[in-house]
Symmetry: C2
Subunit: 383 residues, 2 copies
């Protein structure tokens, strides 16, 4: 289960010497067709890394033959020289694959503001191209890890076709996509327009509802490539469900491996006036450092939930707000509810429910607790 | 230097038994006139504590005879019964002072969602009223502390009059005022309208530009009381400067005592298209947990500054952004600038300058680093 779950794809992952550690740091995903249809979603950060600027242009054609991904350096805030590095990377891989650079997407992740070691990277491209294999998905997923502790892959099966994927991301996870690189593949027959609409609908309710630490990356990229190798034209609803399922699976894995986290927290807002307002309220809670510290301390401190809800302009009356933590309604109608000592917070997964009593819409946003481990990992180490 | 620096005020601070620790927890500030003019600014959180709802009503008259402040409980999210507790507190103090409850402001700070121990509080009011003294400002400042490690007081002298103040606040410090209670006093002759305009102008550039942890409180209150006892009608510009100076002094003390912090960080945005955009960009940086972790680790990680700036809609071009950390321009024109090893981050005070190259406006917002101490203090302890 990975980017090579779908027919028509080969992948590889190798150590090119980009990382000082010597760990794998260069991955390829190649679409052998017959189709090369593709869609992409990118960070909404206005400070975009060179590979994002490049890949956004590539995706405008709706065709991607190959994706090259490196960890060990984000190639962000590196100026015109950094953009040339991305361009050169695409050209070199295109030459190795007998393709056009305009069909090669590039993704990078790692420290911002540092040039990539191009000699090592270009030399690594040859090795990686030589290692391409129909079972190379696991190696590719490993080569894109930074502070990730586990490789992240997923797949779903449709009627006569497959959807596979891989992701990396452990910090800088926030709305409008996270510090994450995601490549999804399918052997279904679909054109770029269908892929684009399916991908946007899937990311809106999965990756966009993951907010580990409120920080938006310069490099976020989610790509969906279709090879058509199954010769199956999918039912659109089933295909949407399969792609969304793979995205949800990978998003859940990102939260589960977030830097320093000890809790995976689902903040569910119910009875909101609209889905947008439900998301707004949920994100206000997932952005509260005080709430996240309380979760780390197994403290069902619902006052911190209410004080976060109160910062939004969603429809609600303060004296009609209710909050449950792991299904114990510790706050009812804006005041004290059930005994907080009834709440068991010892497990890794926590559910916080906020009832706005203002409508019929709902949404869930996932986040993590704020821990000394998170602080340590992001202070002791330039990432 | 405190709320009793200005003539016409008495204050006290005692241990009423509201806190389990037995530390001082009840403070009074009484205006002996001849004027009882007052103005107030309150949290913009829609979930407001009972004392905030009460005091907002009191301040509508523009007259305050006395302020009663308790630590050890926020009286927030306590429903109609909590509001009755606030009302009863005001009535009892009014009776002791031969005043009207409608002239008694109430402030509370501590845990949300817990009723106050009213028997201890009401009994403490008598003790506190008996302890009122013209040099009681220091005792009052001590009695409003929660996780504060030091009492916070300030004063400024105008021509023939004084402005004094006290503050508490160490966590939940954020825009739209912080978890803070502030009482300012002056013996200048000023009516409620003047006090209101001076206070709003002062808080906008002081307390509203302090953002320690991004969390907005349910209880924030800043009051300015005038006794007129100096018989001096102040020059308005001088008076504004004096009040702003006391607010800035107290705001700086709040940042200096923030929970678990090891750094006081001034994020200065220059060459913005407007002051509002300068504040918006500064707050995006002060809200970035990754930036704050880097500061804790003495890591001049300017990429985290740029990625925060990129989340705003302020006017700038990404390739014209420059960033200095302690006056070393580590990022120039969106790319690598001076050697980051030149940055010395060993001191407690840090200055980060963001040059937007988009205009002539500027603003500074203060924040702290994110530390294991912050996490510990807010997880090991319900506050």
């Amino acid at each position: 289960m990975s980017v090579t779950s779908a027919k028509g794809f080969r992948a590889s992952g190798i150590a090119a010497g980009i990382k000082d550690s010597g760990n794998p740091d260069l991955a390829l995903v190649v679409n052998d067709g017959p189709l090369t249809a593709a869609a992409g979603v990118f960070t909404s950060n206005r400070v975009k890394a060179a590979p994002v600027v490049w890949s956004e242009q590539v995706l405008k054609s709706g065709a991607v033959k190959a994706v090259v991904l490196n960890s060990g350096g984000a190639n962000a805030c590196t100026g015109p020289a950094g953009f040339q590095d991305t361009h050169k990377t695409a050209e070199e891989l295109a030459a190795l694959l007998d393709a056009s650079a305009a069909e090669v997407a590039v993704c990078s992740t790692g420290l911002i503001g540092v040039r990539l070691p191009m000699e090592a990277l270009l030399s690594g491209l040859k090795t990686a191209a030589g290692a391409l294999a129909a079972d190379g998905g696991a190696a590719a997923a490993t080569a894109i890890m930074t502070t990730d502790t586990v490789a992240k892959t997923a797949e779903a099966r449709g009627t006569g076709y497959a959807v596979g994927g891989m992701a990396k991301g452990a910090g800088m996870l926030a709305p409008g996509l996270a510090t994450m690189l995601v490549v999804l593949t399918t052997d279904a027959v679909a054109d770029a327009g269908v892929l684009d609409s399916v991908l946007r609908a899937a990311t809106k309710v999965t990756f966009d509802r993951v907010d580990s630490d409120g920080c938006m990356s310069t490099n976020d990229t989610v790509l969906l490539l279709a090879s058509g190798a199954s010769e199956t034209v999918p039912d659109l609803a089933e295909f949407q469900a399969a792609v969304t399922s793979v995205c949800a699976d990978l998003a859940r894995q990102l939260i589960g491996d977030a830097e320093g986290a000890t809790k995976d927290i689902a903040v569910e807002v119910v009875r909101a006036a609209s889905e947008d307002e439900a998301v707004q309220v949920a994100k206000a809670v997932t952005r509260s450092n005080l709430f996240k510290c309380a979760m780390y301390g197994n403290d069902p401190n619902w006052g911190r939930v209410l004080s976060a809800v109160g910062t939004t302009d969603a429809a609600f009356e303060p004296d009609q707000l209710s909050v449950a933590i792991n299904n114990v309604w510790v706050c009812r109608d804006g005041g004290v509810g059930e005994d907080r000592d009834l709440v068991d917070l010892t497990g890794r997964e926590v559910k916080v429910t906020v009832d706005l009593a203002a409508g019929t819409s709902s949404a869930t946003v996932w986040t993590n607790d704020l821990t000394p481990g998170y602080v340590h990992e992001n202070s002791a180490y330039s990432s």
